[in-house]
């Protein structure tokens, strides 16, 4: 029969070891995590020449597995295509990043923004204005 104290000693050793290590618990929100560059958080529509880069090609709503992107294209004064409406319903988004991958003009990215909690359902629908990249 093995010594009954051995497992207890081993357990205590691990516990005691941790007492002297740096704590892993993040004291959120006083402390903030370091978000990795590849993290897939809230989307942002990239801006160039003071305009959203998105040309409303409809590829991201097509590829989106959660069907949470709504795009409506418009025709501007130069007959060019632009996104008159661009919305993502974050309650449905699964943060897969396919939309970013599908975009042919690199108009979309995912940011490190992860604090998306809100009080009302409507507030989870991010309109074009809310999605535009903040400079």
């Amino acid at each position: 029969m093995p010594n009954p104290f051995t497992p207890i000693m081993q357990g205590m050793k691990i516990t005691l070891g941790h007492v002297f290590k740096k704590p892993v618990t993040l004291m959120y929100p006083d402390e903030r995590p370091k978000v990795a560059e590849r993290f897939r958080g809230l989307h942002a529509l990239k801006v160039s020449h003071n305009k959203a880069k998105c040309v409303a090609c409809y590829l991201c709503p097509t590829v989106c597995p959660a069907k949470c992107i709504t795009v409506e294209a418009g025709e501007d004064a130069n007959h060019d295509k632009f996104a008159a409406k661009y919305e993502i319903d974050m309650l449905r988004c699964i943060f897969c990043g396919y939309c970013v991958e599908a975009c042919p003009v690199d108009a979309l990215k995912m940011t490190g923004e992860f604090e998306l909690a809100n009080y009302r359902r409507e507030d989870f629908v991010f309109t074009k204005e809310r999605l535009l990249e903040k400079k």
Binding site: V55, A56, C57, Y58, L59, P61, T62, A73, G74, E75, H79, D80, K81, P104, V105
Partner: protein, 815 residues
């Protein structure tokens, strides 16, 4: 038959087939870009290259090379694949590749071919094209940067549409597709060129950026405009009809549509659609619920008997007409029902009804291309039924079928190669047809002997006498009669409808007499085809939506309203204020009638006068059948849910029948089964393309009454009719059609214009004995001196203020 081998598969095809046709028959897919089954082989793109054992050393284009016995073809060997890849690289060398913003993306042949052949890089490099994009017309955007010069647009516009609006201009790398004098495109806007363009060089502007091709559900339907009965595919997204989608395999017309079918769809999802019932309270139309509105209508109809009447539009489905007829005749007890102003259907209901023994055409549209000779009475055939016009064009150009025309104005038909036009004075068509019949008798060309009555009656119509009356040379009349008799198969076409009071029962009798005497009835490629105005004009006759025993016709109903004998009038979809002749009288009648109910999609000029307005559904929101002018019965089903609170009329009249204690047919199939003319057709089994209802002929020679119309000296002979871009008044709610033809106009000849110093587009005043109207002048080479033509669709400056239903109206034109 020729037998050959393609990719080790043996196949036998007709000897005039190409390698491409043979491959298709063998189930081998050869990529194509410039080839189209509807067009003649062209061989512009070289995508279809194949290897042929017997022609080693070079690659052979499959779409232009005829098959020969024992040919051994390989469709996809390494050299073939290499060549195709190079073709694609060359095509994309100067192409902008702006797929993300190109509306064709997802439905683009170039994209598909590049994908299939894995062309994801280009070994060559060159500058992209910098052509200016043409936004000069409201319907078609032309971006020559994306053009692959396949020539399909040029060819379809020439070979099928016969307009020739597009052509290749410049040479070499500079080659583009250009318009007349490189000006803005001004054409029929049938959109055929858009439909065949394999890339995004030609795009429909009303649909621009609205949706991706793949995001739409494609719903098959039947065009709700004219009686041709073209099949259409509606592109639906988010319960809205966004566009019409081209399907080259659809219908007898292979997906060809006219401007109304292709661009006139916006009325369906228009913001102007009525969303709720309206009831007049304190002289204001206010929104109300269905229950209240229907209860009110039921109360008025209850026991009204012959003090009630109904006018229906032949745009309703057969089943809806069955229910409305049941409501009026059985529950209300009134025989006063009619459609198309009463006279609009007389050519068929009365004319062919007596002459052929059945109120229907003996020939079908398919007979046109199987005939030897086409006799078109009035060139308007092309304007009222453009896709039938395409059929005539193809018959003449591809099959060498002779075209004879009797018309009071020139037109596109008379410009077709070999067309022989007998230009007669307005209102003299029946006399002219009688003269032709007379020649048949005199020269012993008649196959069936004339009855003594007819022979006697025709004695007054010798070519010489008629020549004076009609302005057509006696010899020309004789030649026409001889040509008609000599043709083994001959088909007579004429247009009938609201704007064509001249196409009456007498004209139909005279035309039928020709066919009877000439022995041209009851065989393929021969007979009479009346082209009726609306999508279900024939159906309305088959259902019998005409005055019953002792009932009043449309004109009498309106007179009854004025006189006070009709107290309740139900107008289902008609817009008499604009489309019936004599506007002042119509308005007076509608003002006078105690209770006016209008069921319509829009608050039309007529609906504005109503006491109750019922919002009903368009053809895209309901199920049922339409009968094309050649008795082709076709089924439609709902493509989108009802707009707002609108209801299909089937439901509306069903509920009214129930409210009045009757038993309506529960389903469309049940109502359809009640139509005697369609015995033998099962609603459930009606598939795509529908079925032809039988036409049993019992020809009778009827002596036509000839009324000569005299227009006072110094006055213009005003003819009414339809404009190519419109059909009835519904197309006025389709933005596409309105954007290219939105205003009332009158066409006059160049000489008259010069004499009166009127310039194109100038405002002119038409004055007749009944009124005055100001419209824009159009100077047109097709008009003869002293003759004016005005279409009848437009509510503003409505032509029915000066026109009171005569075939020819004397008017003065002043600046």
């Amino acid at each position: 038959m020729v037998t050959l081998t393609i990719d080790d598969k043996q196949v036998s095809v007709e000897k005039d087939a190409t390698i491409y046709d043979a491959a298709k028959a063998a189930g081998v897919n050869i990529p194509i870009l410039c080839h189209d089954k509807k067009l003649k082989p062209f061989g512009a793109c070289r995508m279809c290259l194949v290897e042929v054992e017997q022609m080693k050393g070079r690659l052979i284009p499959a779409c232009t090379t005829p098959v020969t016995e024992g040919m051994i073809v390989r469709s996809s060997t390494p050299p073939v694949e290499k060549a195709r890849k190079l073709v694609l690289e060359l095509l994309m060398l100067n192409h902008p590749l702006d797929c993300p913003v190109c509306d064709k993306g997802g439905d683009c042949e170039l994209q598909n071919l590049a994908y299939d052949h894995k062309v994801n890089s280009n070994r060559l490099a060159d500058e992209k094209f910098h052509h200016e994009i043409d936004y000069n017309n409201p319907l078609i955007e032309r971006d020559q940067n994306r053009c692959v010069l396949c020539g399909k647009c040029v060819r379809i516009c020439d070979e099928i549409v016969a307009r020739g609006a597009l052509t290749f201009i410049s040479r070499g790398i500079e080659t583009t597709i250009g318009t007349e004098f490189d000006g803005p495109l001004s054409c029929e806007f049938c959109g055929s060129c858009i439909s065949v363009c394999p890339v995004g060089a030609l795009l429909a502007r009303p649909f621009k950026f609205k949706s991706r091709f793949w995001a739409m559900t494609k719903k098959k339907s039947v065009c709700g405009y004219c009686g041709t009965g073209c099949n259409v595919t509606l592109g639906v997204k988010d319960n809205k009809v966004l566009t019409t989608v081209y399907d080259e395999n659809q219908g007898f017309h292979n997906g060809q549509l006219c401007v109304r079918g292709r661009f006139g769809y916006q009325f369906i999802s228009s913001d102007k659609r009525l969303k709720t019932p309206l009831i007049r309270k304190n002289d204001q139309l206010v929104e109300a619920g269905w229950d209240e509105a229907l209860a009110l209508v039921a109360e008025r109809l209850k026991g009204a008997g012959s003090a009630a009447a109904a006018l229906a539009t032949p745009r309703m489905t057969n089943e809806e007409l069955v229910l409305l007829k049941q409501l009026m005749t059985q529950q209300v007890g009134s025989q006063n029902i009619d459609h198309s102003a009463g006279y609009g259907h007389a050519a068929v209901s009365e004319g062919l009804g007596k002459s052929l023994g059945v109120a229907a055409s003996s020939a079908t549209i398919l007979d046109i291309q199987k005939s030897d000779l086409i006799l078109a009475i009035k060139t308007d055939v092309y304007e009222t039924h453009p896709v039938v016009g395409f059929e005539i064009n193809m018959a003449v150009k591809n099959k060498g079928i002779k075209l004879q025309i009797i018309s009071d104005k020139r037109g596109k038909l008379s410009r077709l190669p070999g067309a022989n036009l007998l230009l007669n004075k307005p209102g003299s068509d029946v006399a002219l047809l009688n003269a032709v019949a007379k020649v048949l008798l005199d020269e012993n060309l008649a196959v069936t002997p004339a009855t003594p009555e007819l022979a006697a009656a025709l004695n007054d119509f010798t070519p010489e006498k008629v020549a004076e009356l009609t302005g057509v040379a006696a010899d020309a009349i004789r030649d026409l009669a001889r040509a008609y008799a000599a043709a083994e198969k001959a088909i007579i076409l004429f247009t009938s409808g609201l704007a064509y009071p001249g196409a009456d029962a007498q004209l139909a009798h005279a035309a039928a007499n020709l066919a009877i005497l000439g022995g041209k009835l009851g065989k393929e490629g021969s007979g009479i085809l009346a082209l009726q105005e609306k999508n279900n004009s024939q159906g309305a006759l088959d259902v019998g939506f005409v005055p019953g025993q002792g009932g009043l016709d449309a004109q009498q109903i309106l007179a009854g309203c004025s006189a006070g004998s009709i107290k309740t009038l139900l107008i289902a979809g008609e817009n008499p204020v604009v489309s019936y002749p004599a506007q002042a009288q119509v308005k007076k009648a509608l003002d006078a009638v105690e209770f006016l109910v209008v069921a319509d999609l829009f608050l039309t000029e007529t609906a504005q006068m109503a006491d109750v307005v019922l919002p009903v559904c368009s053809y895209a929101e309901k199920a049922g059948t339409f009968t094309a002018t050649d008795r082709r019965v076709q089924k439609i089903s709902a493509a989108i849910p009802a707009v707002g609170q609108s209801k299909p009329e089937f439901q509306v009249y069903g509920e009214l029948i129930s409210l009045l204690g009757g038993q309506p047919a529960a389903t469309q199939a049940e109502a359809f089964a009640q139509i005697a003319a369609y015995a033998g057709i099962s609603y459930a089994e009606l598939g795509e393309g529908g079925a032809f209802a039988a036409v049993k002929l019992q020809p009778v020679q009827v002596v036509p009454k000839v009324v000569t119309v005299a227009v006072d000296a110094g006055k213009f002979a005003l003819l009414t009719g339809a404009a190519l871009y419109h059909c009835g008044t519904m197309s006025l709610y389709g933005e596409g059609t309105v954007s290219v033809c939105g205003e009332a106009y009158v066409e006059i000849s160049r000489n008259d214009a010069a004499k009166m110093n009127i310039s194109e587009g100038a405002e002119v005043k038409l004055t007749s004995s009944t009124g005055t109207v100001s419209v824009k002048a159009r100077i047109s080479p097709r008009m003869s001196e002293g003759v004016a033509f005005a279409p009848y669709h437009f509510a503003e400056a409505s032509i029915n203020t000066v026109w009171s239903g005569a075939a020819v109206t004397g008017v003065t034109i002043s600046k």
